[in-house]
């Protein structure tokens, strides 16, 4: 059943399969957000966000530009401190146990950047050592093999295309075998073949390495093809969260996920 998931184009069929996989996994919230608020002077970027993401899920975090998705990821990856509220990642508080949190997460920022004058291997080696990996060389080649990206490790990052950089970005994020992978607009700027490859990588990481994926995106087509659960953020507040299967069942009259998104958005405005 899993082997063919990438080729399934029917939304409902796909969501049923993904949901079935979810049920087999532990119902354990690896991301637990309580009343998270972030203010920049008068601007409220996040407003009392409450959110739980279970182990093994591929969570699609949807929202328009400026909704607060990146702020949420920045806080959950301990890069940013919240103004109010708390969050636990794999049971560890993002404020008090930030190092423990970082040991358990991988992070791919939007428009991932590297030291351009260093090779891919040198970049990965540096990040591997920072992640505390004992034998970086072995791990780097293992990950590059997994991502089918061997042969490029001695090229300078400055010579890489956007899609290639994303692969190295994924490599640095999964080298230390994290429990959760945070992806911030991972398909941004990629060409269709790059998007397809990245989608396969995300699904394989979830299926084979059992990594929980938290994916920020505003591309509904990506959510439909990849995610098992979706959450919609609007003006810093979570206005919807459910499994993809339930969402499709709830909004039977809508033909596409775009319609559902607009429907939910309109409801929240009312």
């Amino acid at each position: 059943m899993n082997k063919n998931i990438n080729s399934i184009t029917n939304l409902k069929e796909r969501s049923q399969i993904l949901n079935l996989q979810d049920k087999k996994k532990l119902e354990e919230a690896v991301i637990d957000v309580n009343g998270l608020t972030k203010r920049y002077k008068d601007f409220v970027a996040l407003d009392n966000l409450n959110l739980q993401v279970n182990k093994g899920e591929i969570f699609g975090f949807l929202g328009h530009n400026g909704a607060g998705k990146t702020t949420t990821v920045n806080i959950l990856t301990t890069l940013l401190s919240p103004t109010e509220g708390s969050a636990r990642i794999c049971g560890f508080d993002i404020g008090g146990n930030s190092i423990d949190v970082r040991k358990r997460i991988g992070y791919l920022p939007e428009n991932v950047k590297f030291y351009e004058n260093l090779t891919a291997y040198e970049n990965l080696s540096f990040f591997a050592k920072l992640s505390g990996i004992q034998n970086p060389k072995v791990k780097i080649f293992e990950v590059l093999d997994y991502l089918e990206f061997r042969g490029f490790e001695n090229k300078k990052m400055g010579e890489f295309s956007k899609g290639m950089k994303q692969r190295i970005g994924i490599a640095q994020a999964i080298m230390h075998e994290p429990e959760i992978l945070f992806l911030d607009e991972p398909t941004s700027g990629l060409d269709p073949s790059g998007v397809k490859k990245l989608r396969e990588v995300i699904l394989n990481l979830n299926r084979e390495k059992h990594i929980t994926i938290f994916m920020n995106t505003h591309l509904l087509s990506e959510v439909a093809r990849t995610c098992s659960t979706i959450g919609i953020l609007s003006h810093g507040s979570l206005i919807y969260k459910d499994s993809l299967e339930n969402t499709l069942n709830k909004f039977k009259d809508e033909t596409t996920l775009e319609d559902i998104f607009l429907n939910i958005g309109n409801r929240s405005k009312k």
Binding site: T70, T78, P109, F114, N117, S131, Q172
Partner: protein, 318 residues
């Protein structure tokens, strides 16, 4: 040092090599060291030749008494006295660039988000950066020391005596501390300020103030002391007010402290050659402690700025 501090330091050093910054600065320092020895040797030889010619002429003219050799009692280390000027003018400026560049690299490349998402303490990151700045400065001063030692020994035709070697070591250690102080200032502002141009401009303004303005206020009436280290402090013909200002600022004029200590260590006059290293430091203890204090203050500033640093500064409203 922990593995992660070493990782940061090693990475820093490797990147310096890749960017050829280190190689360029090393070449500048080697040239400066060679030039200082050459200029010292050249001026000494010229004066010596003039003296010999004069003595010959006086003898030919039948003069009963000849003037004394001007270099009698002048220690040989003073040949490299120009190094003092090079370090406090050029070395400190290059150190600012090394320090400023150190964090700018992460800022410009945008990798700080990945770095700080790794299980790395920010204090370890700063310690790694400091070590990554210290290593190249240490290598540069060590090579400069070896060149000075070799060239002075070559010129004099014999190995320097041990006390002079120790003084030469002490001079390069003081120079290292002095340059490190500026490097840390550059690092601090590159972390603390968001504007790249301001992060470079402010340390350069500090450098100008320390290297030119403060000496103007404290030793302007003793012009030799501005560029050429000297121990001769002639009485100033000014009023008490200016004297009071000079007296008050003097201990804080770190470039003059550096020149004074370095001048004594390089035995610029016969009087300083008799001073031990300990005596030289004790004579300038207050001012030297102030240099150490400034170094400590700038290091503390780097830790403070790093704690405050926001790795997501470009996207706060997303």
């Amino acid at each position: 040092m922990t593995g992660k501090i070493n990782t940061i330091a090693g990475h820093e050093f490797k990147t310096l090599f890749k960017e050829k910054t280190f190689v360029l600065i090393l070449i500048i320092f080697i040239l400066m060291t060679l030039f200082s020895t050459y200029i010292g040797w050249s001026s000494r030889t010229t004066v010596e030749n003039v003296y010999q010619e004069t003595v010959k002429k006086l003898i030919a003219d039948g003069a009963a008494k000849q003037p004394a050799d001007p270099f009698i009692g002048i220690p040989v280390l003073s040949i490299i006295k120009n190094m003092i000027v090079y370090v406090f003018l050029i070395g400190s400026l290059l150190a600012i660039i090394i320090g400023y560049n150190s964090f700018l690299r992460e800022r410009q490349s945008g990798v700080s988000k990945i770095i700080f998402s790794k299980p790395l303490e920010r204090k370890d990151f700063v310690l790694g950066k400091i070590a990554g700045i210290l290593y190249p400065l240490l290598i540069i001063t060590a090579i400069s020391f070896l060149i000075s030692l070799a060239s002075v020994s070559l010129i004099t035709g014999k190995m320097l005596p041990s006390p002079s070697i120790f003084k030469l070591v002490a001079f390069y250690l003081v120079s290292l501390i002095y340059m490190l102080m500026f490097a840390m200032t550059g690092l601090f502002f590159s972390i603390y300020l968001k504007s790249e141009s301001m992060a470079l401009l402010i340390p350069v303004i500090i450098w100008i103030f320390i290297s030119f303005v403060l000496p103007e206020l404290t030793s302007a009436l003793n012009p030799n002391a501005l560029l050429n280290p000297t121990n001769i402090q002639s009485a100033t013909p000014h009023g008490q007010f200016l004297l009071a200002i000079q007296g008050a600022l003097k201990p804080f004029s770190v470039s003059e402290t550096y020149k004074l200590i370095s001048g004594n260590l390089l035995e610029l006059d016969s009087a300083s050659s008799s001073l031990s290293i300990m005596k030289i430091f004790m004579n300038n203890l207050g001012s030297f402690v102030f240099i150490i204090f400034l170094l400590g203050f700038s290091v503390f500033g780097c830790f403070y700025a790093m704690i405050k640093f926001n790795a997501c500064e470009e996207e706060i409203y997303e």
